[in-house]
Assembly symmetry: C2
């Protein structure tokens, strides 16, 4: 495809007007001020449009979109025990398939081209990813309550099966990460074995870290160390690692993250909604820690919308620190795109640059809410919303175009989702 | 118009499915489970649609949409002195007309049916309101630096001219409020005279209060009183009053607001973006203070979108207080509709109830981001966005319908706005 006369967020995350961008197979093959001689096939008229790298949702649980609006206005423990766990107990691969398909639809329609998913029912989730031609780093989360040897643990076995069966499939669109659910849901033995096992395997570790104050403080009481220090000492961070949340991490933790090149997946909406707090991304950015942005699941957000997360991410540090001039839209859109791609160890993704993957989205700026156009990047981060996305492309393939999904039968998915949630709610009520 | 088979947010702010709602002239004339016998004219098919009271934007400066993206990432004093004031110095009635028209378009497209506007250039602003068939409580803001007698002050004269010329015109759609810009921009003499003059006049007072910490603390140093205490003692609160922001008010202030029946216009996005902080609406709601929601101007937000403000309003108290179960979507949507109407002393507006003004908006819920529909009210507050609005009606007249403005030539407004901002920027640069 050739994007013609389009405004582009360039590789330095600056705005360039009247550009030509050509894609060939799964890659960006041409960027220039002049029309290329080569024929790139379909031509897209870029008048009043902005071409962005696709967003990477760096932390979500895609099947949980089935629970959107199901567990509301409850403190975390009641939210989990009274609502989320009983619902999830009734899920299976087939049901997870539809939840994931719905999530992918919502993400594609908001310009998200890749997501880091942490869940179970891998055959269901990844069938949905494959059917939708989507891109994900999936991980099967490991929890442990005893000292079972690593390779005998049922969850570890599933996680390694996922690696075996799916890692780097679909032209590399599907990758498998390794996931410890969290410090507080694992034994020290498991954390230690996880650190040792994952070292040098070439996979990414994805872990919930210091999401709540009590989790962070309890770990310090139990081990005399923060969760980050514990993972560091267990060797978990010797492998490229994504820590989701990090609301309560301290200076010593940020030093470790910086030293080990780990990523923080910032989930501002979920952290607010569950009453967890606000992650201090200003300090992380100042230190040069890689920042990515995640939505968490639709059960605690309640959407999978990178625009809303960017808006919260750019506003909250200013409000919380009382400083209007900290954290720029450029830093945030970079976190929401390349920061996430780097977190997924997809270093050829997330930037509009020749040779990079053609994971792109197009914003229509011809809207009252985007006039005037003093500063297009500011408008995108502060004023745009997901409905301003008119096209989303993954690996050079258009998956969303002017409200139409090319790889997802959204009517059927909507129908099945509503059927499934009615069934599950009835099963929960009847104790089946 | 007859809305048929539509889901309705009823007068108790509960969801009712499969309803019929008929409007006649400027009012809601029928609400029922069955089709009315009377002919209400056009029929609107409510399948997968939700009818809400229109939103009331309780605090904005509509011409400032011209500055969207113009003054970014600066601390408040530089934002004002280096960018906003030099730009505003070049505005006039004609330019304010186009800024206001653009703001009205954005508000109508996001379901906002009335707004409380604080600015100057009243003939320009109110011509735009009239041309767009829109609804506003406008106030000309008063600032003072000496002890000029009230009625001799030029700004007061303009404010009173506005009352004389525009109050209760356009079938009551235009009302004029009285506005003190703030404590720190007025002399004590002016505050006192304002309190005395406005008492019993039947108008609404609209004032910026305790937006920043320094403003609040400086007032205490100067007077030994908080701004709220000062306004209280000056008799300003003997008149129905809207205090915008209230980020730094204290318990004593909240007691006063409750006692006097005043409204807080909560502007969460602007308060975050300018580094002012977070208003404690949880305490206000607990005490029963009337809460309304405002966007402030697009220069500090950067949009006029009630959905985003609701989302911030419902999330922030949970995150800041560390409690997931405080402040409900119902409380927030009530604040964004009836709370704002009450702030405007429009007590026949903001609720879907027979005899009330037909200020309504319709949301299309047939979207991936709004499946499943466990809890429609939750979905609206947590997951919907302005583009989900498909129809907006003010005083029974459809002003926005499926992307089309019936009273605004949006192409011309967009063209003029872009022309004006280019002119102004050039004038600022050349010192003209």
């Amino acid at each position: 495809m050739l994007f013609k006369n389009i405004t582009v967020l360039d590789e330095n995350f600056d705005i360039q007007k009247n550009m030509y961008v050509g894609t060939k197979e799964d890659k960006i093959a041409y960027i220039g001020k002049t029309e290329p001689k080569e024929d790139f096939g379909d031509v897209f008229d870029g008048t009043n449009k902005v071409l962005l790298p696709g967003f990477v949702n760096a932390h979500t649980h895609s099947p949980m979109t089935l629970l959107r609006g199901y567990a509301e206005n409850l403190p975390l423990s009641r939210w989990l025990n009274e609502k989320v766990f009983p619902f999830e107990d009734r899920l299976n691969c087939d049901r997870a398939y539809y939840g994931t398909a719905l999530s992918i639809a919502e993400m594609l329609s908001s310009g998200t081209t890749s997501f880091s998913d942490m869940y179970f029912f891998q055959d269901g989730v990844l069938r949905a990813v494959k059917d939708a031609h989507a891109k994900t780093n999936f991980s099967r989360s490991i929890v442990s309550f005893d000292d079972t040897p690593f390779l005998s643990d049922e969850r570890v076995k599933e996680a390694l099966e996922a690696v075996e069966k799916y890692h780097n499939t679909e032209n590399g669109k599907i990758k498998i990460d390794m996931c410890l659910h969290a410090e507080y849901t694992n034994t020290y033995s498991m954390i230690k074995q996880f650190g040792e096992y994952t070292r040098g395997k070439g996979l990414v570790n994805h872990i919930h870290v210091s999401e709540t104050k009590s989790e962070h403080e309890e770990c310090k009481k139990k081990y005399g160390k923060t969760p980050t220090e514990l993972f560091y000492e267990a060797g978990v961070l010797d492998t490229p690692t994504v820590f989701a949340h990090c609301v309560w991490i301290e200076d010593c933790d940020r030093e470790i993250l910086k030293e080990k090149g780990a990523t923080v997946a910032h989930c501002p909406a979920s952290n607010l909604k569950l009453g967890s707090g606000v992650c201090d991304i200003y300090s992380l950015l100042k230190m040069g820690v890689n920042l990515a942005i995640g939505t968490d699941s639709a059960a605690s957000n309640n959407g999978l919308d990178s625009f809303r997360e960017m808006y919260l991410a750019v506003l909250l540090p200013k409000g919380v620190n009382g400083q209007a001039d900290i954290v720029s839209p450029k830093e945030i859109i970079k976190a929401a795109t390349y920061g996430g791609a780097a977190a997924q160890c997809r270093f050829d993704t997330g930037i509009i640059k020749e040779g990079f993957k053609a994971d792109l989205c197009v914003i229509d700026t011809d809207k009252p809410s985007l006039y005037p156009d003093f500063d297009i990047l500011n408008n995108i981060v502060y004023s745009a919303e997901k409905s301003d996305v008119v096209l989303t492309m993954v690996d050079g393939e258009v998956l969303y175009n002017n409200g139409v999904f090319t790889s997802i039968d959204i009517e059927r998915i909507g129908f099945e989702v509503n059927k499934i949630v009615k069934e599950v709610v009835s099963e929960v009520q009847n104790g089946n």
